[in-house]
Amino acid sequence: MSVHEDKIKKAKKGNKKAFQDLMEGEKYKLFRIAYLYVKNENDALDIVQETIYKAFISIRNLKEVNYFSTWLSKILINTAIDFIRKDKKNVVVPIDKLEVTLIKNEQQIEDRLDLLKEIEKLDEHYKTVLILRYYKDLSVKQIAEILNCPEGTVKTNIHRAVNKLRLEITKECL
């Protein structure tokens, strides 16, 4: 058994340290994926926090050790999409006088590369398959399991997402 698998098993039994180690290896990807959905640091941090919390309280139900990464992605993506939907109709929380920093952040976002912006702009379902396929390197079958949909749909969506991305990039270049 690999060290990684061993850690997952320990975490399943409630070992906090093992769980922490696992998160250490996943945290950057978790944050970046969350960021792609909400496009700002604070919300992305909230989503990561929520995801890890959910993962921590439910890891004992994880059936297959090999599915750990897939399972975690599934929680993250559901949390992110849930968050966006809630945020659309729900509430904002006050922060004092943060406008200056926040405006600065936005300036930085503006400066970022185009492709990333195009990924951020994609519809949720295209964005999701694109991230899972090309960033998380999951197979079509795994993605289909995460999203609870037929493999054919996943393939079509990946295809369309890539085309959209290319289209957008070419449009920008004109």
């Binding site: 944050f31 941090l45 909230d46 921590f56 945020d87 509430v91 904002v92 004092d96």
Partner: protein, 350 residues
């Protein structure tokens, strides 16, 4: 092809900057929260501590909109209505505050504004649910009237019941101890460095579950970094606090005061220009990096759309009118600045 696409996408996504220490704190909080929770299922999970990209809380009360002032107000240029100058001090005046609403007799816990993804004002009503149902329409109308009285028409008003759902969690005993330690260490460092005449501006010590971190702000002219670090480490050792990371940032006080005096102007520009439909401004940013302050407005139309250039000029005109008005002090007016209006496709249109 697939491989190259995959690697391009990975490279791109990996350019997203990681806020390392905040991320660690978030993970730590999540595990802590999970540890405390009895392991039950289907429990409703609440979000807290969320900030949208731009989100102001409006908390300053003011009688600026009193009937007696109405005449004066109507004669002011649009942006100047969001601004006040008293005793040589510039101040950004929010267009509505919980105080305004409270004065009108409503139980309001908070008022927030955000501009992304939609331009919205959120008014939070306290008290019972029945009370909320009773006053909802009136509060909405009151807010809409206020906005209209100064010509802000881009914001949608939402009146919601404040049910405590998204409040910050309470500080734990552990947190309090961390705060005490941080404050104590900060005080000691500042006192010692000032006593020895170092060009120290701030040392905002952070002690928590995940980090022991001291970001120092020192004058740009201060070069004795090694010596300062030694003094700090001596203090830490004496207090037996363990190993800290010390980061030194050089600050040009000139730039900082400039940013401070422009700060109310920035708030006014952001709020005013995004708050009115005709300007079509979707974001505002500024930069103090170069000698001229850069004021950057992004609008929702494309550079090739008819009227793009005219819109750019209109925005520029409104901003210039405001900055050159008598209300604003000479010190600000003497700072060079540059206005850039960017179209949706990132082209300059003014």
């Amino acid at each position: 092809m697939e491989d190259s696409l995959s690697s391009i996408i990975k490279q791109e996504i990996d350019t997203i900057k990681i806020p390392e220490s905040k991320l660690n704190t978030a993970i730590e909080n999540a595990i802590k929260k999970g540890h405390k929770m009895p392991r039950t299922f289907g429990k409703k999970i609440l979000y807290y501590s969320t900030a949208a990209v731009i989100l102001f809380t409006i908390f300053i009360g003011s009688g600026f909109f009193s009937p007696a002032m109405a005449d004066v107000v109507s004669k002011l240029p649009y942006l100047n209505q969001l601004f006040q100058r008293t005793n040589e001090t510039n101040k950004f005046v929010p267009f509505i505050s919980s105080f305004d609403l409270q004065k009108a007799g409503y139980n309001i816990t908070n008022v927030s504004v955000r501009y992304h993804p939609k331009k919205e004002v959120w008014v939070f009503v306290g008290g019972t649910k029945q009370y909320y149902n009773k006053v909802k329409t009136d509060v909405e109308q009151f807010t809409i009237d206020k906005l209209q009285s100064i010509g802000m028409d881009a914001l949608k008003v939402n009146v919601v019941y404040d049910d405590d759902n998204r409040r910050q969690p309470q500080e734990t005993k552990e947190d309090k101890e961390y705060i005490r330690q941080s404050e104590d260490l900060q005080k000691a460092i500042m006192e010692e460095l000032k006593l020895q005449n170092y060009g120290i501006l701030s040392a905002n010590v952070r002690i928590n579950q995940t980090e022991k971190f001291i970001p120092l702000e020192v004058l740009v002219t201060e070069n004795r970094v090694t010596e300062m670090k030694k003094i700090i480490n001596d203090i830490i050792n004496k207090k037996k606090l363990g190993k800290f990371t010390i980061e030194v940032n050089k600050i040009d006080p000139e730039n900082q005061t400039r940013e401070q005096r422009w700060s109310p102007i920035f708030s006014t520009l952001a709020t005013g220009m995004m708050g009115r439909k005709e300007y079509q401004v979707i974001s505002f940013g500024y930069s103090m990096e170069s000698s001229a302050i850069l004021l950057n407005f992004k609008v929702s139309i494309n550079s090739k759309d008819p009227g793009a250039h005219r819109l750019g000029e209109k925005i520029k005109g409104e901003v210039n009118k405001f900055i050159h008005s008598d209300m604003i002090g000479k010190t600000v007016q003497n700072d060079p600045y540059k206005i850039v209006v960017l179209s949706k496709d990132n082209k300059e249109i003014n």
